[in-house]
């Protein structure tokens, strides 16, 4: 599944969109790019991605987030901790 385009994550909408992918039985590759994750919303989107990763039925193998504006907080949330 590839999400592209100039959609910015605003007011949790993008977060909910990503979260909705959690546990998808055939989702093995998730590619979100082109400023979908903005610096302002990095925390929201990273939290949503983390929920996808934590889903017990997750089969996700390839997580591709190029050309975004992930910052330390966003990456920190995605990797190890909440803020």
């Amino acid at each position: 599944m590839i999400i592209t385009g100039r959609i910015e994550i605003i007011d949790e909408f993008g977060g909910s969109l990503i979260e909705g992918l959690g546990g998808h039985p055939s989702l093995t590759r998730l590619q979100i790019e082109y400023d979908f994750i903005t610096a302002e919303q990095a925390r929201v989107s990273s939290r949503a991605l983390r929920k996808v990763l934590k889903h017990p039925k997750s089969e996700l193998k390839h997580l591709l987030l190029p050309n975004n504006k992930l910052d330390d907080i966003g990456l920190g949330v995605l990797c190890v901790m909440d803020y």
Binding site: K54, H62, N67, D71, D72, L75, G76
Partner: protein, 149 residues
């Protein structure tokens, strides 16, 4: 139970190309993931991420001894020649088989250090203009020595 990428054992490739707002703090977070015993990351792509000597050293130390096989680090022009020496010495303690190091500041010393990564099968080194013809000649000799055992 995983907590984000930390503890996750299904993700095998992670691409963060062209995310230029990640500093040493973010690199420490990613390092924690790489060091985790459950980590199954085989491919990490960090092209165009504005890595510096400090950030690359943090990641290099984590990669040392990891199971990562493919690493993309092209267009990280803020890593100095000395920074590359340090990073490549870390990578000599990995089992990396593919490296993309295009458009960086790797010099003859860095090229020589690459010979110590014994598992390497694919190497992209184009547009590293600090490598001189003498560096290539020396490296070629070194690889022939390695090839002959």
């Amino acid at each position: 139970m995983c907590d984000g990428l930390l503890g996750n054992s299904t993700i095998s490739s992670l691409c963060l190309d062209n995310n230029r707002n990640i500093t040493s703090t973010g690199c420490h977070a990613l390092s924690a993931v790489i060091r985790d015993p459950n980590c199954n990351l085989k491919k990490i792509s960090l092209n165009w991420t504005g890595l510096t000597d400090e950030r690359s050293n943090i990641l290099g130390a984590a990669l040392s001894g990891s199971s990562v096989k493919v690493l993309h680090l092209s267009h990280n022009e803020s890593i100095s020649r000395r920074g590359w020496h340090t990073l490549l010495n870390h990578l000599a303690r990995t089992s990396i088989i593919s490296l993309n190091l295009r458009s960086n500041k790797i010099d003859n010393g860095g090229l020589a250090a690459l010979a110590n990564i014994g598992t390497l099968k694919t190497l992209i080194l184009s547009r590293n203009e600090s490598i001189t013809p003498e560096g290539w000649r020396h490296s070629s000799t070194r690889y022939k020595e390695l090839d002959s055992g």
